[in-house]
C-alpha cells in the first residue's frame, strides 16, 4: 500500500508527500531497492506512458520528476551505502547553436526516472565539449537534443567527433528534438532516435542492457 502511495503521490507531483511516504516505507523496513523500483520508478514510468499518450503534459512531468527527486533525497544515501549502483550513466545536452532546454530537461528527468545516473551538460554544447565530457564521465549513453532544422546538423558533427576520438565503441548515442526523425538518426550514424522523452528513457534502458549483454559475451 505504501509503495502505491509513493507512486500515486509522485504522479500528482506531491513532493512532500512522496518524501514522507518514502520515509514511512523505510520505517516499515521495506528494502530501499524495492521502494525505488516499485514506488518511485513505477510512478515515473506511469507518467512517462501518459506523456507518450498525451494524457499529461510538460508541467505534470516536471512536477512528477521533482517529486521523484524529493523521494530520492531520502533514498539515495541509503542506496549508495548499501552498494546499489545506478543501472547506467548518461550524458544529456542540447547541441551547439541551440539554446532550447525543455526537451533536454525532460529527457534527463525521464532517464533519471529509470534509475540511470545523468549528467547534464546544458545547452549550446560544442562537439569538443561533448567529447571531453564523454572521456571524463565515461557514460553509457549520450543524448543529443536539437530543436531547430539548422542545429540538428550539429548532431552529426558530434557523432563525427566522437568517432574521431575513438570513443563510439564505449557509448550509445541517442538523438531527439522536434525536427529529428529515425531516418535522420540512421543517416548520421546515431544508435537510436526517440520521438519523446519517455521513449528516450525506454531506449536508454534498452541500449544499456544490450551493451551490458554484449560486454558479458565479449568477456
Amino acid at each position: 500500500m505504501i509503495l502505491e502511495n509513493i507512486s500515486a503521490s509522485l504522479q500528482k507531483g506531491k513532493a512532500t508527500e512522496v518524501k514522507d511516504f518514502v520515509q514511512e516505507a523505510l520505517n516499515q523496513k521495506i528494502a530501499p531497492q524495492t521502494i525505488l523500483n516499485e514506488g518511485l520508478i513505477k510512478g515515473m514510468t506511469i507518467i512517462g506512458g501518459k506523456f507518450k499518450r498525451n494524457e499529461v503534459f510538460v508541467p505534470e512531468v516536471l512536477v512528477a520528476a521533482r517529486a521523484m527527486n524529493a523521494g530520492l533525497t531520502i533514498l539515495r544515501p541509503i542506496l549508495v551505502a548499501s552498494g546499489t549502483h545506478a543501472i547506467g550513466k548518461a550524458l544529456v545536452c542540447t547541441v551547439q547553436g541551440d539554446l532550447h532546454d525543455i526537451g533536454k530537461n525532460l529527457v534527463k528527468m525521464m532517464i533519471e526516472g529509470q534509475g540511470i545516473e545523468c549528467t547534464d551538460l546544458g545547452v549550446d554544447c560544442s562537439p569538443e565539449k561533448i567529447v571531453e565530457s564523454v572521456i571524463l564521465y565515461e557514460p553509457d549513453i549520450v543524448c543529443l537534443s536539437a530543436l531547430l532544422t539548422t542545429t540538428m546538423m550539429k548532431q552529426k558533427l558530434v557523432i563525427d567527433e566522437l568517432k574521431k576520438a575513438n570513443v563510439m565503441k564505449n557509448i550509445r548515442v541517442i538523438i531527439g528534438g522536434a525536427p529529428v526523425t529515425q531516418d535522420f538518426a540512421d543517416g548520421i550514424g546515431a544508435d537510436g532516435y526517440a520521438p519523446d522523452a519517455a521513449s528516450a528513457a525506454d531506449l536508454a534502458v534498452k541500449l544499456i542492457m544490450e551493451k551490458r549483454n554484449l560486454m558479458k559475451n565479449v568477456k
Binding site: 507531483g13 503534459f57 510538460v58 508541467p59 516536471l62 525543455i102 531547430l148 522536434a178 525536427p179 526523425t181
Partner: protein
Amino acid sequence: MLNKLSDYRSDYKEIFKKDKKMYDDALHKKVGNITFMALIPEDLELYNELDLTAYNYENDIEAYTDKLLSLYENVLEKRKNVFDQRIPIISPVLGIGDYSAFVTGDIIFKPDTSWSTPCLENITDYKNFPPIGTSKWYKLFLKISESLMIKMKDKGIPYMRGFFSPLDLAHALRGGKIYYDFYDHPEELHELLDYCADATISFAKDIYALAEKHLGNTEYGCWYTKNKINMSEDIACMISGDLYNEFCAPHTQKVIDYFGVGYMHCHSRAMYLVKEICKLNNVVHLWLATDPNQPRPIEHIKELVESANGASLAIDCEKFSEIEDNIELLKKGNFNIAMPVKNIEEAIYYSNKFNELIKKH
C-alpha cells in the same frame, strides 16, 4: 528599389477580396473558403541571406532595413507570376529575441535567428522591470519598423508584425520555470500573464500607430494592422487544454479584445488545442504548423473542421493530390493550404491548377 504592390501582384485586389471574405465569413462562422499558397525555395532565401549578426542595430538601422527590403524585393519579383493567394507582406526579421526583449533585457544574435535570455528569477520580479515602453529594444524596434515603413510608403504593400501570446512572452521572460508555476504559483502566474497581455497591447498599439502614420494613406499598407492581432501560442502546445483554458485563454482573449480579431498560431503536436484556441471570441484564423513526427493536419480535416468553429485554418500539404482528395471536406471549413514546390515553374503550375480546381467546385 521596392515597387508598388500592383507591380508584384497584378491581381492584388482579387486576393485581398478573397482574403477579406474568408475572415469575414470566419467571424460569422460561415464556411466554404479555400485558398492556396505555393511555397517556393526563394521564400526561405531571405532568412538564409540575412545575417543577423552583421548589424549593430543601434547604428545600422538604415543599412539593415535597406538589406531586408532588397531581400523582400527579390522574393516578390520572383513570385510575380505566381497567382496563388499569398498576400505579399513586409515584416521586420530579427529572429525571435525581439519578441520578448521589448519588455526588458538584450538579444543574443546568431546568423539566422536570435534569442533573449530569461530574466525572471522569481515570478514576481517583473514588478521591478522598467515601465513598458522604456526598454532599449522597445524603442529600437519602433525605430526599425519606422525606417521600414518610410521606405514602404506609397507602395501599398502591407506591413505585418506578429507577437507572442501572453504565455509565450511569459515563458520567454521566465524560462522553463514557468511550467512549475502552473502548480506552484497559480495566482502569481495569472498576474504575470496579465502583465504580459498589457505589455503586448502597448507594444502592438505603438507599432500600429506608426503603420497608420506612414502607411495609412495607402490602399493596403495597414491591412494587417487594422483591428487585428497576430499571436503565437507555441508554449501552449506543451500544456493541456485544461491548463490552457484556465491560465492562458483569459489573457490571450484580453489582447484580442483590445484590437478586434485574433490571428493565431500553434503546432500540430497539439492538435487538441485547435478547439480551445478557436473557441476564443473573434479568433478568425489559426496557422497550424505541421511538426515533424507529429500528426499531419491535412490527414485530420474532418476533426479540424469541427474544432475550428468557423475559423480559417492555415495548414500545409506535401502533394497536390491531398487537396484534390480532400476537397469536399475542405469546403466544410475555411482553409488556407500551403504546399512546398521545387521552383517557380511548379508554383505557377500548381497555383493555376488550384484556381481551376476551385472554379470547378
